[in-house]
């Protein structure tokens, strides 16, 4: 047989061969499947609220209940300071940012395990699945964010605590970037974990446990100002530390002096985790089916 000639008239051509180079990414194919991406987002969203009585209300109830628990336990009982911001607002703001990250991470981390049935039967760029997760989680984030704005307005205009915090318009410009950073970091971590759980099934149990511990290493229930100066360099190793603090900076204008340093660390680490995560996911995608 003649060596296979690649030139062709058809616009579609698939060339199948082993060991595509490790950094080979077919971004074009992902674009081709964009309709699938949005249908998957819809499926995630619709199936989630069709199964419950309260429907989309769950998106609000969960952070709200957690915030109330935090307010009672950490503010009233443990008396952890909240930078003089009303505790309810303080926790809610950090929590919805954190939850967006944690959900992106948890739901993408099981990509291979939960979709093994589909992956075994039909090909599409596998990255579509994690992408659909971060988008559908973003919709949940929006709903939660609207609730936060409600509480924000209430505290700002109808309570005596209104002087303790004010909006930071300069920081708010970066707010969309901040959300993107949260999603990409969650995605990057999730991609890493999905590759690991494909190989080691027992890590699935660990993921949720580790993310809940991670929350306590992140300034969600305490302000960054509580950390002694000498520990800031260590704290900045947690890419979520700066991100959660920045969420609050946007709405309360209160933070420690070195938030810029924290953000720089977050951005660099997010990029490293995301790029390496995509590569390892890509590698797993190619031989995962042979191991199930």
């Amino acid at each position: 047989m003649n060596p296979i000639n690649q030139e062709t008239t058809s616009s579609y051509q698939i060339h199948i061969r082993p060991n595509k180079s490790w950094h080979h990414m077919n971004w074009h194919a992902i674009w081709e499947y964009r309709d699938l991406l949005f249908l998957l987002v819809r499926r995630d969203f619709v199936s989630k609220y069709k199964q419950t009585i309260l429907g989309p209300l769950w998106f609000i109830l969960q952070p709200l209940a957690t915030t109330i628990v935090f307010t009672v336990v950490f503010s009233r009982v443990a008396r952890i300071p909240t930078d003089s911001i009303p505790p309810m607002l303080f926790y809610l703001c950090g929590l919805i940012g954190w939850m967006y990250f944690a959900n992106c991470l948890n739901y993408t981390s099981t990509t291979f395990v939960t979709n093994a049935g589909i992956f075994n039967k039909v090909y599409f760029p596998r990255l579509i699945i994690p992408f659909s997760v971060i988008i559908s989680r973003f919709l949940a984030f929006i709903i939660q964010f609207v609730m936060f704005i409600g509480f924000y307005i209430f505290y700002k205009f109808f309570t005596p605590a209104s002087d303790t915090f004010h909006l930071n318009p300069a920081a708010l410009i970066f707010f969309p970037l901040l959300i993107m950073l949260t999603a990409l970091l969650g995605l990057g971590m999730g991609l890493w974990l999905s590759a690991l759980t494909a190989k080691y099934r027992d890590l699935t149990q660990l993921t949720t446990f580790l993310t809940s511990l991670w929350m306590y290493a992140t300034p969600v229930i305490y302000p960054l100002s509580l950390i002694p100066a000498k520990w800031h360099k260590v704290m900045a190793l947690n890419p979520m530390a700066g991100i959660v603090e920045a969420y609050r900076y946007c709405f309360f204008s209160v933070t420690v002096g070195n938030l810029f340093f924290y953000m720089l660390s977050s951005i660099i680490m997010t990029l490293i985790i995301l790029i390496s995560g995509i590569l390892i996911f890509n590698k797993t995608e190619r031989n995962f089916i042979d191991t199930i």
């Binding site: 698939i14 949005f38 199930i292």
Partner: protein, 442 residues
Amino acid sequence: MKPIIEIEKLSKLYRLGSISANTFQDSLKNWFHRIKNSPPATADKSSSRLMIDPNDPQAGPEPNTLWALRDISYELQEGEILGIIGRNGAGKSTLLKILTQITEPTSGQAVLRGRTASLLEIGTGFHPELTGRENIYLNGAILGMKKKEIDSKFEEIVDFSGIPKFIDTPVKRYSSGMYVRLAFAVAAHLEPEILLVDEVLAVGDVEFQKKCLGKMKNVSKSGRTILFVSHNMQAIKQLCTQTIILDKGRMIFSGSAESAVDKYLGDGLSLKGEQIWDHTQTAPGDDIVRVHSVRVMNTDNRSRTQFDVRDPMTIELKYTVYEDGHQLATQIYLFNDAGQVILNTKDNKDSPWGDRCIPKGSYCARCTVPADLINEGQISIGIGIGTVGPSYFIGHVTIYDAVIFAVTDAFDPEGVRGNYPFEWKVGDIRTHIPWKVERLEN
């Protein structure tokens, strides 16, 4: 003109033993052993249960590796329909999985010149909570259709499925028949230049199967190129313009569908009254259920390959359920030597767990095909085990040719044939039907 599909020396090596039993704990142990310079734990395990004989022609270069596919080369012109036949483990599915990009080849290459869609299963990605309408879009997109395409074919798909009334009902309320109809309707409206199909016609009732075969024929008339893997020799003969036979990973024949089917059937299946899988990892099944042995026995409880038409045949299978919470249905298929189903039986009615979840553990299921029912010929037993849901059936185990035996009719006036002395291989079933013959008085 360049062939639309070019396959060149395609090979696939599988590694056995490292299958999903991998845990993080094992890796840590291995790592620990490496530090201490002692042999790793998992290597111990795998060498003690070497599964592939190194002299096996399929054995790969390293221990416990297996050539699932070896040096397959083929060229297919546009508009041709290629049938792929072969026994279990011949590499048919592996070939299809490589061409659909689900898995990568180990060596060799292939070029597909055209928009490609694959159909290895119908209803992939169906979500029980979503309505029929929503699932049409989702499933269509998973199979590679654009939303616009689905929009334009939506009416046709609904018509073809024959269930327009239920299109806005969540599919969890569908009967399994409706589910299959809808799923196939979507698949039937894929319009790629190259279609890769795996045995999806083996679903649904006969009427619907006919409709599907008809649809496939229409598709082929419109000039599309199809690769079709099937156990159904009748369908292969009807549809395919050329056919290849795979055996143990190699292509052993290529030619017209007629000649390939003749050769395949002529080679005959080697009879086997019993099949046992010693290793959990290679036993057919998944994480939920695996079959360990299948045999066919006479009344004396010993496995046999020869039966008289007057013998009852007891088929026994042993399987292990690994997870609680599944309502399983076990089915046995009897295939004739043309690969058509003569009989299908399910355990739902008689099993104590026929209508509820089966607890994990090991099970033995037996069913007896009554004497004086099956005609002479070679019978191959197929096994299927799946989870039965309100509206879906998820397969866990599919085994073709689990056991193969011959049924013969002795030339014996006591038999069903009476004193009819000639070969009597008409029909799949031959039971004693009472006749009443009277002489009419003139």
